[in-house]
Every structure is written in C-alpha cells, then in structure tokens.
Subunit: 506 residues, 2 copies
Amino acid sequence: MQLKLEHFNIKIGQHKVLFNIADAKELGVNPGDRVRIRGHQSLSAIVDTTDDMVPPGTLGVFSEVYEHFEDWDKPVEVVPAFRSKSAGVIRKMLDKKPVVQEEIKMLVSDIVDENLSDVELSAFITASYIHGMTDDEVEWLTKAMIETGDTIEFDTHPIMDKHSIGGVPGNKISLLIVPIVAANGLLIPKTSSRAITGAGGTADLMEVLSPVEFSSQEVKEITEKVGGALVWGGATNIAPADDKLIRVEYPLSIDPYYQMLASIMAKKGAIGADNVVMDIPIGPGTKVHTIQEGQKLSRDLINLGHRLGMNVECAITYGASPIGRRVGPSLEVKEAMKVLESMEGPNSLIEKSAALAGILLEMGGAAPRDHGKELALETLRSGKALQKMKEIIEAQGGDPNIKSDDIQVGQYTADIYASTDGYVMEFDNKWLIEIARLAGAPNDKGAGVAIHKKRGEQVKKGDPILTIYAEKEFKLDNALTTAQRTNPIIVEGMLLRRIPGTYGLQ
Amino acid sequence: MQLKLEHFNIKIGQHKVLFNIADAKELGVNPGDRVRIRGHQSLSAIVDTTDDMVPPGTLGVFSEVYEHFEDWDKPVEVVPAFRSKSAGVIRKMLDKKPVVQEEIKMLVSDIVDENLSDVELSAFITASYIHGMTDDEVEWLTKAMIETGDTIEFDTHPIMDKHSIGGVPGNKISLLIVPIVAANGLLIPKTSSRAITGAGGTADLMEVLSPVEFSSQEVKEITEKVGGALVWGGATNIAPADDKLIRVEYPLSIDPYYQMLASIMAKKGAIGADNVVMDIPIGPGTKVHTIQEGQKLSRDLINLGHRLGMNVECAITYGASPIGRRVGPSLEVKEAMKVLESMEGPNSLIEKSAALAGILLEMGGAAPRDHGKELALETLRSGKALQKMKEIIEAQGGDPNIKSDDIQVGQYTADIYASTDGYVMEFDNKWLIEIARLAGAPNDKGAGVAIHKKRGEQVKKGDPILTIYAEKEFKLDNALTTAQRTNPIIVEGMLLRRIPGTYGLQ
C-alpha cells in the first residue's frame, strides 16, 4: 500500500505508526500488528489506528520512525510484517516454556532499540516477575544486557566495584569507599544511579562536587588517571536495557528479582569488574527484609558472578536505621567530606564504609585477609582518602579544594521535636525518605533531613529530633506537615495515635 | 506547579501528559506516576517526560486530556497525585493476593475510562493469564463489565441469545439461527463481532445485507419490532471493557481463559439474556482443542451463567472442517440466504444451525424437549425463517427483497486443483482463513474462498478443490501464491513436500 507520510513530532518510546482505520482494514492489519515501511530505508513499526487523526491515504509517523527517513515528500510502500520474533519469545515466557540464549539476546536487543510496545514490555516484566527465571536465563539476560551497551576494557587489572541494594536512607558510603580503594592503588570505576524513589542516589550526591555525566570512554580515562570515578551510569550507555526495564517496572511498583540480579551484574560486567563487594542492607523499608532473603540473594549474586567470571563477596548490613545522620544530596556530601577531612562523623558511616572498603582491599590484594578494614581506616586517618577524593573531583571537572564547610544546604529549616521523654525506638525509613523528597530532594540539592537522635538515644520532651532543610519555603511546609503527621522517629512511651471516644458525639 | 498547556492533537488511548524533565524533577514525579491537573475541571493523568518536546514551564497534553478542558490559555495548577488505586489492585493480582468485588469494579471502570497505561493494562492481562481467576473474581469481572456499559431491559421475556467460540471458518450459523428463533415468537437481540483474525465475523457478514451499527436503544427497538436483530456489538457500548482488553491481548496473541468467559457472558448479561446456547467447536485451529477442554469450558460457562441468573446450554460441535462451503462475507451470506430461500445448501450448515436453534426453541418453551431441531427445520422449510430474515433486514435498514443470486462476489477468481487422485483427508483451517484474508476478506466483502471438495470426498487429479475470490487482482495473486505454497486441503496420497537431495549441489 502506498501512503503519504505525516510527521507527529512526538517521541513515544517505541517505533509506532498511525493508520486511518480504513487503510488498516484494507491492508488487513490491526493495532499491535507490525508493518514494514519501504522508503529510503526499510524498517518495521508497530501499528495503531485512528478514525480522525490521519485521513485515508496518509500514515502518521512518530519521531522514533521519522528519524530513519530523509525524504518525506515521497509516498512510501507499506506492507504487513510478521509478528516480531521477540513477541514470540515473550509469549513463550508467559507459558513458562524454555527459551534459548539467542532468543533472550534478540529480546534484549529489541528492548534497547525500542522495537517493543509497552504492552509487550510489560508482559515480559510481569511474566518474569511471576514465573522467575532459571540460572541459565539470568546469565543470558545479563550477558545480553552487557552486549547491547558500551563496555570498558582496562589494560590494568584487577578492576574493583561495589554495589548497594537500595532502601536505606543516607547510604553515602560510596563517597568514602571509592577514594579509600583507589588510594591503595586499585582501579574502581564506580557507575551509580540517580534516585528514582529515594532521597538521593550516589550520582545525585557526587553531582554536588563535580559533573557526573561522562561517556564510558571518559570514565575509562578518568579511572586510568586517578584510580577511581564516581559517575552517573545513565550517561554512559552501559547496560542501557536497564533504564528501559525500569520505565515499566516503576509504574507497576515491582522489581523482578532475577532482573534485579541481571541489572546489577550487567553493570559490573560491562566495566570488566574482577572483584565486587555487595552491600545488602536488611530491615523494614529496604528491598531485603530478612537475613534468610539476604543469604539467598548473596548466593545468587555470587553464583551469577561465577558464571560471568567475576569474584563477588556479599556483606549483609544493618538497614533498619539511616547510615549516618544526614539524608539528601548536599547534607550527605557534607557529612561524608567531614569524615574524609577529619574522621569526624557518625560511627555507622565510618564503620560500614571501612568494612566494605576493607573487603575490596583484601579481594584486590592490597591488604592481607582480615586486615582490610584496618587499612581502610588508616587510609581515612592518614588523609590519603581525602587526597584521592580531591583527585577524583578534579578529574571529573569539579573544584578539588572544596571543603565540607563550603557546601551549602537549604536555607529554609524546621525542627521536629520529641513529644515525650524516652528512648528512640524505631525509624520509619520510608517516611524519612518521603519527607526528604517533599522537602525537594534529590532535585533541590540542599534539601533533606538531619537526624539528631538515633535508635537507642535518650531524648527529653521538646528536644529537636529532626531538622528539615529545603531550598523553597512551600516545600518545607509540605515536608513539615507530613513529618508532623507521620512521626517517622518513634520515641518509647510515645502515644502513636489518639483515637477519640464517641461520648457526646451522638 | 503552574504550567502553560500545549495541545498534542493525538489520541493515544490513555490520559497522558508530557512534562519537560526539569519540571518533572522539580515536582518530584517520574514517568508512570500520576498528577492531578486543576483547571476548569480536575482530572488525573499519567506522567511522561521529555527533554525536548516541551520547554520547561509547559505541559504537553494529549487529546484524551485536552477534551476535558475549555480554557486553554490559562495556566493550570499541577500537583503529584497518589498512585491510582487500580494500580494497587493490579499489583495484588501479580502477587496472586485476593481482591474484593469493589476493587475489580474500580479496575474495570478505570479500563473503560482509559485511566490505565498500557503497561498497567498489560500487567493485568498477563497476571490473570498466568494466575487464572477464582469463580468469584470471574463473576465480579463479568458484572463490572456489564455495569460499565449500556444495558438493555426488555419488557417481554424470555430473551434468547447464542454465542460461538471462534476459530472455525465459514461459521455463518447466526444468519439462520436468529431468524428461526425469532420466527417462533422468541426475542433474540444478537450482538456479534467483526473479525479480528478471522475471514468474517457475523457482523461483517450481516453488513452485506443491511447496516449493523446501532445504539443499544436501537437494538432494543429493532428486536421489539421484529423479534430479532443481527448487529455489531462494537457500536452499542455494551460491555465496552472488552474492546479495551482485546487491544492488549491481540498483540500478545493471548486470550486469557477467565477473561474470555467474562467477555462472552457480559455481553449476554447486558442484553438481559435468560437463555443462551453456546457453540463450542472442537478441532485443530479452533480455540478449544479437545472434548475435555470443551467440557470444562461448558461447565464454567454454565456455572457463571448460574451466578448471573442466566440459563446456559452448551453444544460441543465438530470444528475440524469449515461450516458449509463458503468462507468470506458475501460468499457466506449468499450460501446462508440460499438455505433460507430453498433449503438448498451444505448439510453441515443446515444441520448445525437447526440443532443449535432447536436448543434455543426448547429452552424458550417454543418446542417441547427433543423437538426443537424438528421445529427449526420446519421453520426453514416453511419459509418462515426467510420471511423473518427479510423483516430483520428491513428493520435494520437493508433491502428486504434481496435474493441470494443478487449478492455480488469478487470478480477476480482463481482455482486450486487436486495434485493427485484420492480422498480429501484434512483441512488446514488456519491457512484457509489466511488465504481468504489475503484475498481481501473481511474488508473486501466479495473476497473469500469456495470449497469444492470436503473431508472424505473423492477427487481426481486436476479437479478444482478450491476457488479463490477477490475484488482486487493483486490480492488474488497474493492469496493464490500462498494457497499454492500451503496446500490447505490435503488429499490422501498427496506428496506434502518434496525435499531435494544434495547430490550435484556440492
């Protein structure tokens, strides 16, 4: 069928074209089918139909398809195309039928190339969430995620890396671990994420100190120059399938277990990591709720690492309270820099960072077994970690002379006070993060919360237990209202809620 | 956040708005989240983000949202909204957690109102495909599908209805059953579908004789006037959720069992059917492959009917061969009209139609038990069924004096010949339908195939076994090429395929 083209100047995340319903009937295609368009180039696209947006004889074309053509004045020949092979693979997965490596590779390629519709992507995610995946399938998925993106090959080895499973507020440990490890002569090109539902990912934090958006080639150069990097993975085109999957998982509020494994390990595989330490925080509000789940996840990560030729160690960590006492980009960076500058700072932050950095130092051969943490602490104390951090900041285009005191935080603040005498018993991490987000984090770098009293600490009625920081007054108000309503920090003996009686209400 | 509006004049099947990524970050929302827009009216929409399609300060709005506003020059206030409750229900279904009736009702309302994204819809379909549904859930789904669309309440009862599970080519029996039943004083307002993957649904067929697009009120009036109707369900707004679900099921090539039950029965429930006969064809290429599956489906339909206060009987029928000898709208209508005019026609068509009409006559009390088929045949022979069909055609705005000989079929024809002597052994229904579709059916009414030899009939080499009809020459060529390649009719002793040896190919 010959059709004129009309360009809809909109990207919709898939290769889609819009037929007048009369043309679709004539061609014998339905919404969701695929057609092949023959013009300057030949490409396949997903069919949608309309009775009024394009007239008969005209094909509406969204930007993803438009970009493939040069000459728009000429009509194009459109023919029905076979269903995509990836759709057949997804169909197999729905029925829990076995698939082979080539099929998974094709599927991931189509995901990266935006050749799948949201309907197909969502069916894939849902099916793998419900059915799970075999060890082979996870390995193939991981390899496909690596192969469909950029990879970095370093001349020197070993390459070290670290990953934290999410959910703990204030988990700024990469800002300490990377310089500690790099200061001991090991390469650690750390890519990290921005927060989606959190108050700040490592990339959001590092951005307070320097740019974080680099190509994978630049990441390689920075790492080779100073030993470490702290960059945003999203700018590198490393394992790009992950972002496409998250776009679907996020609105469903699911994080399919085996895809989580594949996503984590693909990012490590793509930079050629030899030794990886995994931080698995356990607690309410984190992704892993029990020690047993943490052990299973550890085994699975170690096993998958083995299949990919990577040495993985896992550390199950305490995740029921925030790490350190600051949540939100600038607040957290200030806290981490203070530790680098003077070892002043919360024990939870120093101990956890040193423990994990220590494991990496041992894995990389920089410290003998059981002496890694000692070396990590010494690297902090000696100022070598601070010096290395300055080199990384400078290599990434930031100001190496920045001091923790220079870092500005939100000018609008409000305190939350203890409503009773007692001891701090519980932290509601989810609400703590939500309050930081309402205050503006991670987008407003200066927004967040400072925690004055942690678990087990004694408070008196009227003591400040939390300070909210914001860059905008209305965001402070929003956060404050929620903080007062939700009590994210529970003091022993505190009335959680008062339920009024019914007398006099007749 | 105050935003100017920019209208994207495109319908995308969901309430979606497009933020510049900077605005989305500032507001703290991600793609897939929901926002509430406060303008003249207040409505919620699904968030998408862009870095170039709208500038910061401007909200891109697709037509589904646009239609809700009148004053576009004024900026609107946009605030983050809670995740839709339906998304929570879908999430529960993914985890196979129990849901309650109110939740299913809310979900179906959101589906009908286009408040769900493709990602969410697909997750719902996939989860119910994989997990199945309980009897309660199917009942609630059916009731919700009824309640979210038009319903018809007749003053007179009983109301009769009939449904065929798909997959058999040439299954034109409704064109005989409806007039037979109506001629005996029973009301039968038959809504039917257009073909999606078939060569012609009953609505496509009836359209050869009269218009088929009516509101549910008009369907009621036609039925009350002449006793029967043969209309396209898609125009009535009866159980509109079904079309929205099919839009997602189609590209996944799945037809989740319990949703099929709900879709079928919702359409019967919405017109207030008291007695329904179900035609369940068994055979390769149909939806139901074995007698056992047919029995399970029967039990489930009867059980669901019982819950809805409907009397259901099921007939498991032979589905391995086409019904009658014509496939494609005009060809099938010609064949059915011939039977009505003179009882001339294929036994498979007359017998099956009379048997199913007979069940309805018995259920409705027009014939004593075991005498329904006899009455049905007599209604055909006496010309009463033809007379009633003419009344229905006239009531729907067609020409009641049309004769089978007047019906035009495609002018371009080609024959397929037997390649050997023998008996016809097998029909490949799927390829038969595909050939009819390639010839232009169902959109080109005159396109289709005529079958000259059926199962068990003797053929001589060179006898025509199939004639292809098309309205356009290039479509005839396409269909012919495929017919010659696929051999949809297998003659005993015929070479199915010749695999050349490799000698001389070195």
